[in-house]
């Protein structure tokens, strides 16, 4: 009897701890909507101008800049990451493989502020003196963000490729195919949803990233739609960080910043959900 009571108490206690995550997520969503919903209107979502002192809160330039930064970084990460994943999965053997793998894992461990600092003191001057502009630019954002996205793309697509059964590789090699022919005809087609999931997840990471990007993209006072990759821009995350400290408590400005948070949250959640669904589908159809 005593044992049963104790067991019941333990179970309830564990359930309580498990519920914490639900409660926290709910609280954050409720809080964000309570604060932000007042600013979520047509002028906010489709306005071309963001000018707090003029009471103008249009997010289009910021959203466009965010996607330019995110997609560009993703593009660089794909160009480097997918070939790297193919090399790791199909071409490399130990010790080369484990050396590359552990350095990819180390890349994940670099705090974003450190990466941002590196961008600011190394990359930004490099761009300023060799390419032009102020240095703090879309290009710098792309490079720093792609470094942050790269390890996720590499490790998820590599996992997807390694999950393709070895019997397919042997069957193909035994027919006289080269490794590249096998990769092209069998490995990539069978790993493509995993590779795609890694890209979508990478996009989510790139859009939600704050600190490193903030330090290298310049953040002009007025958000605008950039004309060149050497232009300075503002993204959703950097706008919130920069302006929240001087937004007047209870003003439309503050509500608008929360509304930016809602937009950011929605975009990143949808991207994460898509990649989660793809990975789930992938596991379901596993051989």
């Amino acid at each position: 009897m005593k044992r049963q009571i104790r067991e019941a108490i333990i179970e309830k206690g564990l359930f309580l701890a498990a519920s914490a995550s639900i409660i926290i997520v709910m609280l954050i969503i409720i809080f964000m909507f309570a604060e932000g919903i007042r600013a979520l209107n047509f002028d906010f979502l489709f306005g071309m101008e963001w000018w707090p002192s003029g009471e103008k809160f249009g997010i289009i330039p910021t959203v466009v800049s965010t996607f330019i930064i995110g997609l560009g970084a993703l593009g660089i990460a794909i160009i480097i990451g997918i070939p790297c994943a193919i090399f790791l999965s199909e071409y490399s053997r130990d010790p080369i493989r484990s050396i590359i793998k552990s350095s990819v894992e180390m890349l994940v461990g670099i705090p974003s502020i450190v990466l941002g600092f590196f961008g600011l003191v190394v990359l930004v001057p490099l761009i300023r003196y060799n390419i032009g502009g102020l240095g703090e630019s879309i290009l710098a954002g792309w490079i720093i963000l792609s470094i942050m996205t790269l390890p996720h793309i590499i490790s998820i697509s590599e996992d997807a490729m390694r999950a393709v059964p070895n019997s397919f590789r042997e069957g193909s090699i035994a027919l006289g195919s080269t490794t590249w022919q096998t990769t092209k005809a069998l490995i990539i087609p069978n790993a493509k949803s995993g590779i795609f999931a890694s890209i979508v997840l990478g996009m989510g990471n790139a859009i939600g990233e704050t600190m490193a990007v903030l330090m290298v993209i310049g953040n002009p006072n007025i958000p605008w739609i950039p004309q060149s990759i050497l232009d300075q821009v503002r993204v959703l995350t950097s706008t919130i960080v920069i302006e929240i400290s001087y937004a007047i408590w209870g003003s439309m400005h503050q509500y608008s910043l929360f509304a930016l948070g809602i937009v950011l949250f929605a975009v990143v959640s949808v991207l994460n959900l898509i990649s989660r669904l793809i990975i789930k589908e992938e596991i379901r159809k596993r051989w």
């Binding site: 130990d94 042997e170 027919l175 006289g176």
Partner: protein, 253 residues
């Protein structure tokens, strides 16, 4: 039937790291016969046939000494193009491994890869390969279906058709029936006997009844050594080695 040697091993030694798998093997395999290599699990029989198409190359710590002569040429020679070698020496695996593609695309995979054919000519190759693998009648109306929808025995015959599609000289079969039921096994066995008309067939099996049913020449491998090798009748009726006799009479293996 000609009586020429297709493959000959000369003092073949193979080890994985420090584990010796094949010891000083000398055997010559005749063209247009079925040669069975039997022996208990772990005796090195699969490793031996994987040497013939250099599939062991994929294993980093594999070291090979000696020679394997295919049509007068040492396959380990630097001049040998391993892609060309694997085209000439096809292989069917223990577990049927059709690609997750259509039946047609499975058979067309090799010819396409080697740029051998396309269009109508490719159709002809696919049809001929499936006919030679005794599968055509069963799949001719569903060539676009997934190969994974076939039964295990059909999948294995599809893998044989896939091997035939690149017109090899030698076909290696690595315990091709171990994952199949008796009816499917019987089909594959009769197929092996048919195939020897045009190909040199080498089959690895731990099932000595199967070796007795299909082979013209039989080898018995034990712990990496060739204990017995000769005409099947001779090996089964009058083995020269005590171990072979024990294996055949089912005392171990």
């Amino acid at each position: 039937m000609s009586n020429q040697t297709r493959i000959e091993t000369r003092n073949l030694n193979l080890r994985f790291g420090s584990a010796v798998v094949l010891k000083n093997l000398n055997m010559s395999i005749k063209s247009n016969f079925v040669t069975a290599i039997m022996g208990p699990s772990g005796c090195g029989k699969s490793t031996l046939i994987r040497t013939f198409n250099r599939l062991n190359d994929l294993i980093p710590e594999c070291h090979i000494e000696g020679e394997v002569i295919l049509n007068g040429m040492n396959i380990f020679d630097k001049k040998v193009d391993v892609v060309e070698l694997r085209k000439r020496v096809g292989m069917v695996f223990q577990k049927p491994n059709p690609f997750p593609k259509s039946i047609y695309d499975n058979v067309a995979y090799g010819p396409k890869m080697h740029g051998m054919a396309h269009g109508k000519k490719l159709d002809t190759i696919v049809e001929k390969s499936l006919k030679d693998a005794a599968l055509w009648a069963e799949v001719k109306d569903r060539l676009r279906d997934s190969a994974l929808s076939l039964s295990g025995g059909q999948q294995q015959r599809l893998c044989i058709a896939r091997t035939l599609s690149v017109q090899p000289e030698v076909i290696l079969l690595d315990e091709p029936c171990s994952a199949l039921d008796p009816a499917a096994t019987a089909k594959i066995e009769s197929l092996m006997v048919q195939l020897k008309k045009n190909y040199t067939v080498i089959v690895v099996t731990h099932n000595m009844q199967q070796a007795a049913r299909v082979s013209d020449y039989t080898a018995f491998l034990y712990l990496g050594e060739l204990m017995e090798y000769g005409e099947a009748e001779q090996v089964f009726k009058n083995p020269s080695n005590k171990l072979t006799e024990d294996f055949i009479t089912g005392r171990f293996g």
